[in-house]
Amino acid sequence: MDNKRPVNLDIGSISLPITSYVSILHRVSGVILFFAVAVFLWLFDASLSSPEGFESVKAMFANPVCQVIVWGSLAALAYHVVAGVRHLIMDFGVGEDSFESGRNSARLALGVAIVAIALVTGWIFLW
């Protein structure tokens, strides 16, 4: 590949549409989830190690540091799944006929993700 080709795409100078933000957040949440798998496995491991381990996972939900780590992991998961389901639906040819329908589904995905993250927040911090 010839890497001397000029590149004039300065992303920072361009006003991006909502579809771009939904796509970038899908990537960012995916990278977060790569590390969050360790958090999920650790919770899974502790909860199945012994009755005491199971209780320690329950007790951990009262610790603010653990709450924030688990919240971040679950929020990334919620967003990633919602944006991913949007991709799967579009793979079947639904909502990919025009930029306008893509923009509408991006708005819908963002809305559903916000509701899902609100539920996660309520479950961890208020329940």
Binding site: R27, L41, F44, L48, P51, L88
Partner: protein, 126 residues
């Protein structure tokens, strides 16, 4: 090409399909687990261990961790080959990317081994 030797399926179309099949498996697992936890608010250790020790559930969990591994491999490959490039990082980009990719693959395999260790070590009676 340096980029294709580290991709999971060695082909874009294969990676594309694996990414979607694994997404489907993980979504099904997530819906099941969330549904189970919502329907069992007073969950006990015995109940939880019994569920996860049952062979069909262990198979479902194993299928899910294998999906996570494949999905993460493909997704991280996309991100690394997009951003750790000569244009964005400089002339050492390929060497840096290979190190990150091998590290990513190692972590992914450790996740799988960890999950198998958990699933096949469940003791219902504590």
């Amino acid at each position: 090409m340096v980029t294709t030797v580290t991709s999971l399926g060695r082909s874009g179309l294969s990676d594309w399909l694996i990414q979607r099949v694994s997404a489907f498996v993980m979504t099904a697992y997530l819906i099941f687990i969330v549904g189970y936890l919502v329907m069992n608010p007073e969950l006990t250790y015995a109940q939880w261990a019994q569920l996860n020790q049952a062979l069909p559930m262990r198979m479902f969990s194993l299928l899910t961790i294998l999906s996570i591994a494949a999905h993460a491999w493909i997704g991280m490959w996309c991100v690394l080959t997009d951003y750790v490039t000569v244009r964005l990082v400089g002339p050492k980009a390929t060497a840096i990317r290979i190190v990150f990719q091998l590290g990513m693959i190692a972590i992914t395999l450790l996740y799988v081994i960890w999950a198998i260790d958990i699933l096949w070590g469940i003791q219902v009676n504590g």
